[in-house]
């Protein structure tokens, strides 16, 4: 029995030596060159993180659109200000949340601590959407009240409601898509790092 165990231990040690020899052979071969590394560097830009800048030009466009709408429909100044503050909060929030994805992917700190941090960020992201969704509904109500206040009727009212529906659906789609991508990103990191979850 002892002989067998000793032989198996030798096998493992043998494998370790073979492994070291194999690595030495690999070191002598040109597995990779600078060009291949350069290509990887170019491909390695995080597309999600880069999206964080898109919100700022969109904010300017929204400013112009709402200013135009306010003037043409006769919407009041407080509504215009509320809309801008709400939109700016979303854009700035997105900028910071997407920017954090970088350090999330790259932290080299202790794994356990890092996984805990990522899980916290995931919860924060879920809370963000839970807060923003009711606020969006409130803003929608405010918008409808504001449109009713202008006293418009008939075709004018339908056009405004149609535009509002399209705009709201687009905004919601973009927000949920970004939210889902962030959540998926955090989930993938947790799945990647939580190696010890598989250790029973």
């Amino acid at each position: 029995m002892n002989n067998q165990e000793s032989s198996e231990s030798q096998e493992l040690e043998q494998l370790r030596m073979e492994y070291a020899e194999m690595k030495a052979r690999l070191d002598r071969q040109e597995i990779i060159n600078s060009n291949m590394i350069q290509m990887s560097i170019n491909r390695g830009v995080n597309s999600i993180r880069n999206n964080r800048w898109i919100g700022f030009p969109m904010l300017l466009i929204l400013f112009a659109v709402f200013y135009g709408l306010s003037r043409s429909l006769g919407l009041r100044l407080p509504f215009f200000i509320v809309t801008l503050v709400f939109t700016a909060a979303i854009v700035v929030g997105n900028y910071f949340r997407l920017g954090r994805l970088d350090s999330a992917a790259l932290s080299a700190g202790p794994t356990r601590q890092f996984i805990t941090e990522i899980k916290c960020r995931r919860v924060q992201q879920l809370r963000w959407i839970q807060i923003m969704l009711p606020l969006f509904v409130l803003w929608l109500g405010y918008f409808i009240l504001e449109v009713m206040h202008t006293g418009r009727q008939g075709m004018d009212l339908y056009i405004i409601i149609f535009s509002l529906s399209v705009g709201a659906a687009t905004g919601l789609f973009i927000s949920f898509r970004t939210h889902n991508r962030i959540i998926a990103f955090y989930d993938s990191i947790i799945a990647q790092l939580d190696l010890s979850g598989g250790v029973k």
């Binding site: 370790r16 990779i32 600078s34 992917a105 790259l106």
Partner: protein
Amino acid sequence: MENKELEFTKLVIGNKSTIYSVCYMFSKDKDQIEDLFQEILIRLWNGYESFRGEANIRTWIYRVCLNTCLDQERKMRKQGERVPLGTDIDLFEGTDDRVLQTRQLYSRINRLGLVDRGMILLWLEGLSYDEIAAVVGISVKSVSVRLFQIKNKLKSIKS
């Protein structure tokens, strides 16, 4: 090339055999090794940009390599593809008894679970228990117990 890119290139070339070996352990053919290698390079570069040196760079490289391989394999399992590991590639040259024995043991390692395979790989790489604990994120004592169990498992798996 910028300084940072040069440093990164040196780092990759200095660790190419480690990266390749990890890919080999988690791949079924050469194409998959190349894909994994590429993916690891991308993740290493993304990480290198803001690597703060809070951990040993070697530990960090192992962690990125292992996590990338495990992630890829999990994805493949979700897609329903069974991965017959390490069948097409043979990095152990020669046909004498010693090499054949090693090859058999290597194929037994490939039949271990994902995490077990990762841990035995780190042990083969010559990492200390402290370093393995840092990569996997468990205590040093757990590493010791786990490696003991893995070695026993290896013995029980028939070639």
